[in-house]
């Protein structure tokens, strides 16, 4: 059995265009690219065959044995593959001077579908958020790749390439940039992938999923140099909107030190859509310590300055999250997020405690 799995893993690794995910620390820890595990070259969303195999053989603490035929690969047949995620939460929110709230919730359920119409060359991909609330399309694009898999172009609706594609849309670096899983945009993206470089350039409407309202467009460029123990990347984004131009630039990096995978990102934003230009800073440093197989301890420190010209308005957020993969395709999470902002704003000083059960395939 193990030899069969190893053969499948090696086979998938060879076949996969290099891949990565919305948990980029996996990629840093493995020294691989987002596209090693994901259909999407810039990470996030559906896992490819290698990603699914890795998730059921390497990731969990204990694997429930199934026969080779029963192992999940995501493939329905040679051309069609599906995937999905469901995150169910229980959380407790403590806001100063307010009654504490606790609730159970479905954070999100997403399904993915990919049709490989021409093997290795032409793909149609859909990512649909189906809960909570009604269904909403996140990504829908067609992608054409060159025969050597180095170049691709995709068109449709897609997440924008910029910085680390974290699972947590609430991270300051995602909120401040406005680029996350809730804000896909419509346009085209060109990508260039080599063994050590991953680069994407997207030209989109610049309306964060809304209808186009002006003739200006948004350009978002992300490039990353990847080595086995470290990686360094840069992102730039320009949104030419009639409401005001917006420039963003950032650096992001990953580093593996023994059992700890580090992520860092710093972004500087100028936004002319306010009465006076605002300059914003956002930063993140995250340590992911795999202290035991199947267990990850995530410690994150974040910084946000909503207006560089205003003193004493800076905010911090600290998170401590334990992530446990007891068996394949199941993740249990428990964590705390502590917000530290100006004292006169209660929400900027809230504490959030949560547990989460996350099934994925």
């Amino acid at each position: 059995m193990m030899r069969a799995i190893a053969a499948i893993l090696i086979g998938c690794a060879l076949l996969a265009p290099s891949v990565a995910d919305a948990e980029p620390y996996f990629a840093v820890r493995q020294g691989m690219k987002c596209v090693a595990c994901h259909v999407n070259p810039s990470g996030g969303g559906m896992r490819n065959a290698y990603g699914n195999m890795w998730a059921q053989t390497v990731l969990p603490e204990r694997r429930i044995e199934v026969s080779d035929r029963e192992m999940w690969s995501g493939a329905i047949n040679r051309h069609l593959a599906v995937g999905g995620n469901l995150r169910a939460n229980g959380q407790y929110l403590d806001v100063p001077n307010e009654a504490a709230q606790s609730e159970f919730d479905v954070e999100e359920a997403r399904i993915y579908g990919a049709a490989t119409i021409v093997p290795d060359r032409l793909l149609v991909y859909v990512d649909e958020r189906i809960a909570p609330g009604g269904s909403v399309n996140l990504e829908a694009y067609v992608r054409l790749s060159t025969a050597d898999q180095r170049w691709y172009v995709k068109a449709g609706q897609m997440f924008l390439p910029y910085g680390w594609r974290l699972e947590d849309d609430g991270a300051f670096i995602r909120q401040a940039t406005g680029i996350g899983f809730a804000t896909p945009d419509k346009g085209v993206e060109v990508g260039f992938e080599t063994n050590t470089w991953s680069t994407q350039l997207a030209i989109t409407n610049g309306t964060a999923g809304g209808a186009e309202t002006d003739s200006g467009k948004q350009a978002s460029l992300r490039t990353e140099h990847i080595r086995s123990l470290w990686r360094l990347g840069a992102s730039v984004n320009y949104n030419d909107a009639d409401t005001g131009e917006r420039y963003m630039q950032g650096l992001f990096a990953g580093l593996k030190t023994g059992p700890v995978a580090w992520l860092a990102e710093a972004d500087y934003i100028t936004d002319d859509s306010f009465a006076a230009r605002r300059k914003l800073w956002a930063g993140l440093i995250e340590a992911n310590w795999m202290f035991k197989n199947g267990h990850n301890l995530k410690l994150t420190a974040e910084y946000f300055d909503p207006d560089d010209d205003v003193d004493e308005d800076e905010q911090n957020r600290f998170s401590l999250v334990w992530e446990y993969f007891p068996i394949q395709f199941l993740q249990l999470r428990a964590g705390a997020r502590v917000y530290d902002g100006i004292p006169q704003n209660d929400l900027q000083n809230r504490k959030l405690y949560f547990v989460q059960m996350h099934g994925f395939f």
Binding site: G133, G258, A301, N316, G341, I342
Partner: protein
């Protein structure tokens, strides 16, 4: 852990020790002298909702040029984009249907009953039901804006912006900073022209564009202007609203609007923009 780990740990500590002490700021983190801070007590008026809900909570994402679905909730912009404005996700619904909170998409998103997408605030705790009840009350009472003490009354375009170049357009949205006498908003006081294709306004070949006006809010007055033909041919456009002469738009005290924004009543308001061939 090695030296590299210690360096990164030190960077974490430096990064973390930077929260502001809030000195000289209101509860939304803006300088007190700017105004706009809330009292901390939420009441069923727009200024209070803006200061205590939209600004501190919603503008975490819904702000600036990158606002999701184009919905900006920052002060000065939010009202015109909410009240009687169609939702992007469900165009058949108004974001705020004045007088009808249950049919308002804003309420449906806050209560998690919307047909499309997730409950707001996205990824955060739902607003307390008491907070939503206050917003409901504001809508049920007509979704009025808060009284303004501005004088004289001036106009500005919520959409498109002055000098904008657009791929297409459905309507122009103009907002006043107080209530104006809408009975005088007629073809005599409001003129929409296009250049006739030469890109030069004020020449003989200018063409008047028949327009219709849709009132979205009384106080402050917000109105949309649509081309009666339903389309906006590629051209350079000018919207002129009269603030002087015998046919002037006035406030409720019959004082002419400050159309040219010089601080003195009178003067025409002029908005120019260009619509390009759709690509």
């Amino acid at each position: 852990m090695g030296t590299r780990t210690l360096v990164v740990c030190a960077a974490c500590i430096v990064l973390a020790g930077c929260a502001g002490n809030g000195e000289g700021l209101d509860e939304n983190g803006r300088p007190v002298e700017e105004g706009g801070g809330g009292s901390g007590v939420l009441t069923a008026d727009f200024a209070s909702i803006q200061a205590n809900v939209f600004t501190p909570i919603c503008t975490g994402c819904h702000t600036g040029a990158a606002a999701p679905l184009g919905l900006r909730l920052d002060e000065g912009v939010s009202y015109a984009l909410l009240v009687n404005a169609p939702s992007t996700e469900v165009p058949g619904l108004l974001r705020v249907a004045a007088g009808d909170p249950s049919s308002s998409y804003l309420i449906q998103k806050l209560e998690g009953t919307a047909q499309v997408g997730a409950r707001m605030p996205l990824g955060g705790a739902p607003l307390p039901q008491e907070t939503i009840a206050v917003i409901r009350q504001w809508i049920a009472e007509g979704a009025q804006s808060s009284p303004q003490s501005t004088f004289p009354t001036s106009l500005r375009a919520a959409w498109p912006m002055q000098g904008a170049v657009l791929d297409g357009l459905s309507s122009i949205v103009v907002t006043a900073d107080a209530e104006i006498d809408t009975t005088v908003l007629t073809a005599g006081t409001l003129v929409l022209m296009r250049s006739g294709g030469d890109g030069v306004l004020g020449s003989e070949d200018d063409i008047e564009v028949p327009a219709e006006i849709e009132l979205r809010s009384l106080s402050p007055t917000v109105f949309a202007i649509r081309a009666r033909a339903g389309e906006w041919p590629a051209d350079v456009y000018a919207l002129q609203i009269s603030g002087g002469g015998p046919l002037a738009v006035t406030d409720l005290r019959a004082v002419a609007i400050d159309g040219d924004a010089d601080g003195i009543p009178g003067g025409d308001y002029v908005l120019t923009f260009e619509v390009e061939e759709s690509r």
